[in-house]
Structures are given as structure tokens and as C-alpha cells.
């Protein structure tokens, strides 16, 4: 090679980037296992294996070398994000369909790593949400509220055989966002709904602790300089402001901003999903617009829409707008149109 540079920054690779993301996810995963039972390990493992299998299949079909692309870690990140977004203890084929859409459709039909327009995990999730809505509302109940929490062996049984010793009602429940939506449709006031045991100090019982750990992992990512502040701040900030304004106007029908921030997929999206560099806006101003749009839509869909949590859809909608946003938010290039000082 005659081209320059002849030297590159040592210890810098796509694999390392992905590895750091996985590390940052660990606190959230541990919290999830602690507060919702060990079922998460089963779905994480299952999604990872499925992801690697689909990835290998796609690479083979497309004639790409397996080793560099299987070991780059991007598939595992997608698998973990999907597993963390989905209810645990769902039948295995649900994960399979999700990963199929995530890896084959959202990623490889678009050219594989680095070229997907949509976040693969969110495509998988959205497909499941519109296709199998019943399964997607059977969330594991927090350990402290459940009459029974399946252990690891039982979780395997539930995922692969589809039946356990006890009825699903014992260990699944609706998420706080679900409860809020259905009961508000029934005419209840927000204050009353949120006094129930499913709601914790600020968000949902159990959920709020997992979310806190996601926040911790997100700060780790910021510390690694893998993400910039723009997307999390704009996203969470817009959610807080929008929810705050709505609550101020009509407190009986709108939950408080803190609840919005700490429930559903908001925190995971803020640091791990919206920040996926491939499908996110890449310019500083663009990131603010992109994440702000997503934040606004999350609150709108949660408060007025047909789905309890709009995060997956809003991520996709924001992804959709990225090429347009990027095209119109190009930063000024050195030497272009800046007032020359001192002249």
C-alpha cells in the first residue's frame, strides 16, 4: 500500500467498540435478573445464539468471510438489545422471528454491518409487537410482587416447551405503562392508578431499578467516548419537557415526567438504541433534532396513541428521518462562511 497514513491508533477496532457496549449493558442485565428472575439469561442466550446463526447464514449466502463479521460483536449487541426489550419467558419462536427480522431483513438486506437504515433490534421488536401483541404484553412480574418466579430450569422449560408447573398468571403481569393505558381508557385518574403496588417510587416497581442501571451503563458509554451527550440529553430532555407541559395542563390524565423517564424502554433507548451510530444522525445538530423528535413522539404515543410504549416505533420513525436530517444539518466546514476575525 502506498497510501497514507502508515500508522493507526493502536487498540482501536469495531470489535472493541461493540465489546464496550456489551460491558455497559451488564449492570442493567444483572439488575433485570435480580428484580425479574433469571429468565433474562435464557432469552439473552437464545437471542445471541439465534443472532449468530442468522448472521452466519446471511454471510454465507452473500459470500462474505465469516470470521471478521461474526467476531465483530455487532450481532451480539443487537441480540442483547432485542432480548432486553422483549418480555422474558416468551416462547422460543417469538425470539426467533424477532432475530430473523432483525438480522436478515433489517441488517443484511441493507448490506450488513454499518449499512442498515433502521435499528435492527427495533425492527425485530416492532414486527413482533404488531404481529403477536398478546405475547408481547405478558411481561414477567417483579420478584417482589409475583406469587411465583420461575428459576433458571423452569425458565428454560417455559421458553422451549411452553409450559411450566404454574399458570402464566402467576409470574406474568402487565407493565406499568400497560396498566396506565388500560385503566386510563377505563376512565380512571392517573393519581389513583399510580398508587397501585405495580408502581414504585418514581416508575414501575423493579423497572425503575433496571432503568437506573441502564443509566449507569449509559454514563459508562459516555465515559468511553463511544457516544456523545447530544442524543441522551435531547431525548430524555424532550420527554421530560413534553411530559411536564402535559402534566401541568392536565394532571389528572398525564403521569409525571419522572415516570416517563423511568418506565418502558426510554432509558435503554436513550443510551443504547438511539445512539446506535449506524442508524442515528451523525451531525451534532442532527442528533439533537433526531433525539428530540423521538422523545416528543414517545410521550405523544404513550399518552394518546394505540400502544402503551412507543419507544420502538419512535426509534424507527427517527431512524427514518436520519438521512434527511443529516443532509440538512451539515456542520460548517473550516473556511466556509465564518466571519473572519481580525480582518
Amino acid at each position: 500500500m502506498t497510501g497514507s497514513p502508515h500508522t493507526v491508533l493502536a487498540g482501536n477496532s469495531v470489535r472493541l467498540v461493540m465489546l464496550k457496549v456489551l460491558v455497559a449493558l451488564i449492570p442493567g442485565i444483572v439488575a433485570h435478573a435480580w428484580f425479574f428472575g433469571p429468565g433474562i439469561w435464557v432469552s439473552l442466550l437464545l437471542c445471541t445464539l439465534l443472532g449468530v446463526a442468522f448472521e452466519a447464514l446471511a454471510l454465507l449466502m452473500r459470500g462474505y468471510p465469516l470470521k471478521p463479521f461474526l467476531s465483530d460483536g455487532s450481532t451480539v449487541v443487537t441480540a442483547w438489545l432485542l432480548a432486553l426489550s422483549m418480555p422474558t419467558l416468551a416462547p422460543w419462536w417469538l425470539y426467533a422471528v424477532g432475530m430473523l427480522f432483525a438480522i436478515l431483513v433489517a441488517k443484511h438486506l441493507y448490506g450488513g454491518l454499518g449499512q442498515n437504515l433502521f435499528n435492527p433490534a427495533m425492527i425485530g421488536f416492532a414486527v413482533l409487537l404488531v404481529s403477536f401483541p398478546v405475547y408481547m404484553t405478558q411481561w414477567p412480574a417483579p420478584v417482589e410482587l409475583a406469587s411465583h418466579t420461575p428459576d433458571l430450569i423452569e425458565s428454560f422449560d417455559l421458553v422451549f416447551a411452553g409450559q411450566g408447573a404454574v399458570s402464566p398468571d402467576a409470574y406474568t403481569t402487565a407493565t406499568p405503562l400497560d396498566l396506565l393505558r388500560t385503566q386510563r381508557l377505563a376512565g380512571d385518574e392517573v393519581g389513583g392508578i399510580m398508587a397501585q403496588p405495580a408502581f414504585g417510587v418514581v416508575g414501575g416497581t423493579g423497572h425503575e431499578m433496571v432503568v437506573l442501571m441502564y443509566l449507569l451503563g449509559g454514563l459508562l458509554l459516555l465515559n468511553y467516548r463511544l457516544i456523545t451527550w447530544h442524543i441522551p440529553v435531547a431525548f430524555l430532555g424532550t420527554i421530560a419537557v413534553t411530559a411536564g407541559v402535559l402534566q401541568f395542563l392536565d394532571p389528572t390524565n398525564h403521569p409525571d415526567p419522572l415516570f416517563h423517564l423511568t418506565s418502558g424502554g426510554a432509558m435503554l433507548a436513550a443510551f443504547f438504541i438511539l445512539t446506535d451510530p449506524v442508524s442515528a444522525s451523525a451531525t451534532p445538530r442532527g442528533k439533537l433534532i433526531y433525539a428530540g423528535l423521538a422523545g416528543f413522539l414517545v410521550v405523544m404515543i404513550r399518552n394518546y396513541g394505540g400502544y402503551p410504549d412507543g419507544v420502538a416505533f419512535t426509534v424507527l420513525i427517527a431512524n427514518m428521518a436520519v438521512p434527511f436530517i443529516d443532509a440538512y444539518t451539515q456542520p460548517r466546514v473550516f473556511g466556509h462562511g465564518r466571519k473572519e476575525k481580525g480582518k
Partner: protein
């Protein structure tokens, strides 16, 4: 304390300066042979004014500047011209270029030189002298200095910057020059100041060169020159970057630093300018850093035209397991293809690689748009977008993302986690766009000429018709009717004769007695013919090569 301005991005590659700063500048011994390329500067190559067999003296003009953007080329020593022919030159393409090959006579006699009285000389005459003396920027871009020293009719250039940043890793030639010849550099700057009508002279030096800063500060005392230590951040020595760092003035895109009243020269250029004017000596040598995997890394005062192989020998030779050389620095330099290629005005450094210092680049992965390149880009571009479109040859799009503001510093490739050779994509896109523009110009020229021809033919036809009409009317009057135009008939006959003659000439060279040969004889003849044809082709190729 001067207020400094920080440009966007930049990277901190390992410096590796210490390897080659241990010893003072050494002067290369006289070599038996020099190969002096005629294209050592930006612009038109010099036209050779010597032929094989000519005797030359050191400093004698052997290449005359051609066109405006061009400077002279001079013999590095006295001796005899062996050849004027294409030879390997230090260029990323590895192609050969026209060189004057000089066999040294060992006497190193010089042409008569006389100092120039620059204060008394007319600035334009002075610039012409510098043009003839081959002065070009020694920082690497080798732009003819006389053009940069022309302030223009109305332009005022209040600030002159001497660039001693030397931000590229490994290179130390400016460092050593500043340590050892600080006073000369500043004396050169004095002349520049005079020519440009500049008020302020700033010397920018990165703070990883404390000795150079000390030497320059000491020499600057009482000259009205300010030596400024700037943070070590690659590419802080880029012209636009150092201008911004020291003055806060932003050179407009596509413009020159003079647009904001600043002119930037490399310290080596200032030194060469002093030599040219004080000693009357044309540019025939420069300081070159030899470093990396060699026995005795260091800096060498090297005559232009010295083959790289000889320079490496002067540095004690390469250590075992060397894996090639880089011309220039590791961030912007290029791999050398042939050690026979000579040192030119643009070569500031030769780095010998080995697998430990310069490991092979990891295999590239797809871009994940992480934006690390954008954060590192001193031109504040979006390198990943440029890459995305250069990759698919969408050159229009690359231009909307300001491809031509890229300074090819290599920061983006350096930080890329996917290890994509980004700069190579930009260079590819740039040269494609240039070549297309060139083609477009050629097409426009052809269109114009074609249209003019059509117009001419039309006019001629009209004139002819008029003439015929006139003739016809005359004939009618005279009553004489010629069966045929005798002139045309004569022409035709002549042409026929010529064709017959040419055909005959062709026949003549055709071999005789080739009918009814036995097959083995026929094969032999065929083989000979084939060889002859090949030789002819080779000759032809060499001829066209030489013409260019």
C-alpha cells in the same frame, strides 16, 4: 503572551522524534552519480537545457523554468551529463519521470556566485532571480516561492508566519535546522519580510521541540520576531491550521492564507532563501531526516538528486528485517517503490519501516458511522459521508460534502475503528474529478474547434459557389465551355502517381524469395519476424515515453 486558537480535531500519534535528534546535521559525502528530476516542484516541470555529454558545474542551471508556475533545476555537483531520460522518482505512482543524470567528476567545482543586493534590487527582478534559482517551499508542497513572495498589487500582508511546527511524527529536519542555524533562518525571514512588506513575523514551533524554541528565541532577540510555542497536535503544522492557531484568522475555503493577510513559509525555505540571496547559491541541497529502522538515524544535508539508497547507506544502512521505506512522514507520506529514486526538493524524510514500528494495517471493516473521523478532522468535514459517496463513485455528492476542503492529513484514517483507508478514497475521488474536469475542457475545446470548422466549411462553400456563379456568367459571356477543370485533373494524376510510388516503396521492403519454403524455414522466418516486430514496438514505446 499571545492568545492561541485551537483548531478542531487533530490527533496525537507517537512522536518518535528522539531517534533522529541525537546527532547534529551531517553533510553527505560527494557521490559518483546524481539523478536530478526536472519535476521537483508544483506546476510545470523544468525544461532540460543540457544534453548528454555536456559538462556542468555545481549550481549550473540544467532545467529552465517553463511557464509561470515553475522554477529552475540545478546541477548538484560538477561533472558530465550522462543522460536525460525517464528514471524512477519519489512519487506514489512509482512511475518514472524525466531526469538529468550527472556523473560527478569529484572536483565539485561551482559556478561563479555573487550575493544579491536584495535591498537595492527591484522586487520583481529579485523574484525572477529566485525563480531561476529554484526556490520552492521545502515543507513538502514545493510551491514556487517567488509566487508566494509576490504580495500582489493591492494586497497587504501584515503577518509572516515561519512554520517550524513539524507536526508529523519521526521528521526532525526542521527541528535540527532551527537548533543549528536559527540566525540564518531569521535572516532569511528578514528578506521575506522586506519583499512582502510585512510588519509582524511569527515563528510557530510545537512545544515538543524545546531546544529549537530556545535557539530561535535566542536568535530572535532584537529582530522583532516573536517565537511562539504551540501545543503538539497533529496536523498543527498545516498551513491553514498554523495560521488559525497563531492569528485566529480562518483561511477561506479554496483560498490562500494571503486572503486573510498572512503568508506562511517553512523554516527550511527561509534558510534556503538566505543561502540563495546571501551566497548567491541556487537550491541544490536540503536537510533530510533518515530515521526508523536504520543503523544511525539522523539528519543529513543532502544534495538534490542523491539516490535514496545512497542516503540510507550514509545512515549506516537498513537494519535487518526492514519492510520498505516511507517518503515523508507516516501520516501523509507515501511508500517508496524504488530505492534508486532520488531525493528532491519535496523529500524531507525517509523512514525505514519494520514490522514492529509499522505493523501491517488491520483488515478494514465496514464503516459504522461512529463519527470518530468527524471529531478528528481539522477541516471540520464529515469524513464518513465523503467515504460513503467516494466508495460508490458518486463524485457529485462528495463535492457537496466539500471533498476539496480535505487536506489529506490522515487524522480520519488514524482514528477509524474500522481501519478504512479513508484518505485513499478521497485521493481517488479527487483525481477522478480532476481528470473529468480535464476531459470536459478537452471536450469543450473540441466542440469549439468543430463548430469553427463547420462554420469555415460553410463559408468556403459559399465563396466557391459565388466564384462558380461568377465564372459561369463569365463563361456564358465568353462562350467557351471547358469539359473539365484542367487544374483538378492534374492534381488527381499527381496524387495517383504518388500513391503508386508509395506502394512501390512498400513493396520494396517486402522480403523476396519467400514462396514455396519448407515448413521449418517458414517457422524460422516467422520467429524472426515476430522478434523484429517486438523490437519495433519497444522502440516505439521508448520513443513516445521520451517525448513526454
Amino acid at each position: 503572551m499571545r492568545k492561541l486558537h485551537a483548531f478542531n480535531g487533530g490527533v496525537h500519534p507517537e512522536g518518535h522524534k528522539g531517534e533522529s535528534t541525537g546527532r547534529p546535521i551531517e553533510t553527505m559525502p560527494l557521490l559518483p552519480r546524481y539523478v536530478v528530476p526536472l519535476r521537483q516542484h508544483i506546476g510545470e516541470p523544468a525544461r532540460p537545457v543540457v544534453k548528454p555529454g555536456d559538462r556542468v558545474l555545481r549550481g549550473q542551471l540544467i532545467g529552465q523554468p517553463e511557464g509561470y508556475v515553475s522554477v529552475g533545476v540545478h546541477a548538484p555537483t560538477s561533472g558530465r551529463v550522462l543522460a536525460v531520460e525517464p528514471r524512477p522518482v519519489p512519487h506514489p505512482s512509482g512511475l518514472a519521470d524525466l531526469c538529468v543524470v550527472i556523473d560527478s567528476d569529484g572536483e565539485d567545482r561551482t559556478v561563479e556566485t555573487a550575493p544579491l543586493d536584495w535591498r537595492a534590487m527591484d522586487p520583481s527582478a529579485l523574484r525572477n532571480r529566485l525563480r531561476e534559482m529554484g526556490l520552492a517551499g521545502l515543507g513538502g508542497a514545493v510551491f514556487p516561492s517567488f509566487i508566494k513572495l509576490n504580495p500582489g498589487a493591492r494586497r497587504h500582508i501584515p503577518i509572516l508566519i515561519l512554520n517550524g511546527a513539524e507536526c508529523e511524527p519521526w521528521i526532525t529536519c526542521d527541528d535540527l535546522l532551527m537548533r543549528e542555524r536559527a540566525a540564518d533562518i531569521l535572516a532569511g525571514a528578514e528578506i521575506m519580510r522586506h519583499m512582502l512588506g510585512t510588519e509582524e513575523v511569527l515563528v510557530g514551533i510545537e512545544d515538543n521541540k524545546p531546544e529549537a524554541i530556545a535557539a530561535m528565541t535566542a536568535a530572535a532577540g532584537g529582530r522583532g520576531v516573536e517565537v511562539v510555542a504551540i501545543a503538539s497536535l497533529y496536523p498543527g503544522g498545516g498551513g491553514k491550521q498554523i495560521t488559525y492557531t497563531l492569528t485566529g484568522r480562518v483561511v477561506p475555503a479554496g483560498g490562500l492564507s494571503t486572503d486573510v493577510g498572512v503568508q506562511v513559509f517553512n523554516v527550511g525555505t527561509a534558510y534556503a532563501l538566505l543561502r540563495a540571496i546571501r551566497d548567491g547559491e541556487p537550491l541544490v541541497s536540503r536537510i533530510v531526516t533518515v530515521t526508523g529502522h536504520v543503523v544511525r538515524p539522523g539528519n543529513f544535508e543532502t544534495r538534490l538528486g542523491t539516490p535514496v539508497a545512497d542516503l540510507l547507506r550514509a545512515a549506516g544502512g537498513e537494519l535487518p528485517d526492514a519492510t520498505g521505506q516511507i517518503i515523508g512522514g507516516p501520516m501523509m507520506g507515501f511508500g517508496l517503490m524504488d530505492e534508486a529514486a532520488p531525493i528532491t526538493k519535496s523529500v524531507n524524510c525517509v523512514i525505514v519501516k519494520n514490522a514492529a514500528l509499522f505493523p501491517a494495517a488491520p483488515a478494514p471493516m465496514p464503516c459504522i458511522r461512529c463519527g470518530a473521523c468527524a471529531r478528528a478532522c481539522p477541516a471540520e468535514l464529515q469524513p464518513f459521508e465523503l467515504y460513503w459517496y467516494a466508495r460508490t463513485r458518486d463524485f457529485g455528492k462528495t463535492q457537496t460534502y466539500h471533498l476539496f476542503d480535505c487536506i489529506e492529513c490522515g487524522c480520519c484514517s488514524y482514528v477509524c475503528p474500522s481501519h478504512i483507508p479513508l484518505v485513499e478514497y478521497y485521493r481517488f475521488a479527487k483525481s477522478e474529478i480532476w481528470s473529468r474536469e480535464h476531459e470536459k475542457q478537452a471536450a469543450d475545446q473540441a466542440r469549439e474547434r468543430h463548430e469553427f470548422r463547420a462554420f469555415r466549411l460553410e463559408r468556403e462553400k459559399q465563396e466557391k459557389a459565388e466564384k462558380l456563379a461568377k465564372k459561369a456568367s463569365e463563361r456564358l459571356e465568353g462562350g467557351a465551355v471547358a469539359a473539365e477543370d484542367p487544374e483538378a485533373a492534374r492534381k488527381k494524376a499527381l496524387l495517383q502517381a504518388a500513391i503508386a510510388k508509395a506502394q512501390k516503396a512498400k513493396e520494396a521492403v517486402r522480403p523476396k524469395n519467400v514462396d514455396n519454403l519448407p515448413p521449418d524455414k517458414q517457422r524460422e522466418i516467422d520467429a524472426i519476424e515476430a522478434r523484429r516486430a517486438q523490437a519495433g514496438q519497444a522502440e516505439q514505446a521508448a520513443e513516445t515515453e521520451a517525448k513526454r
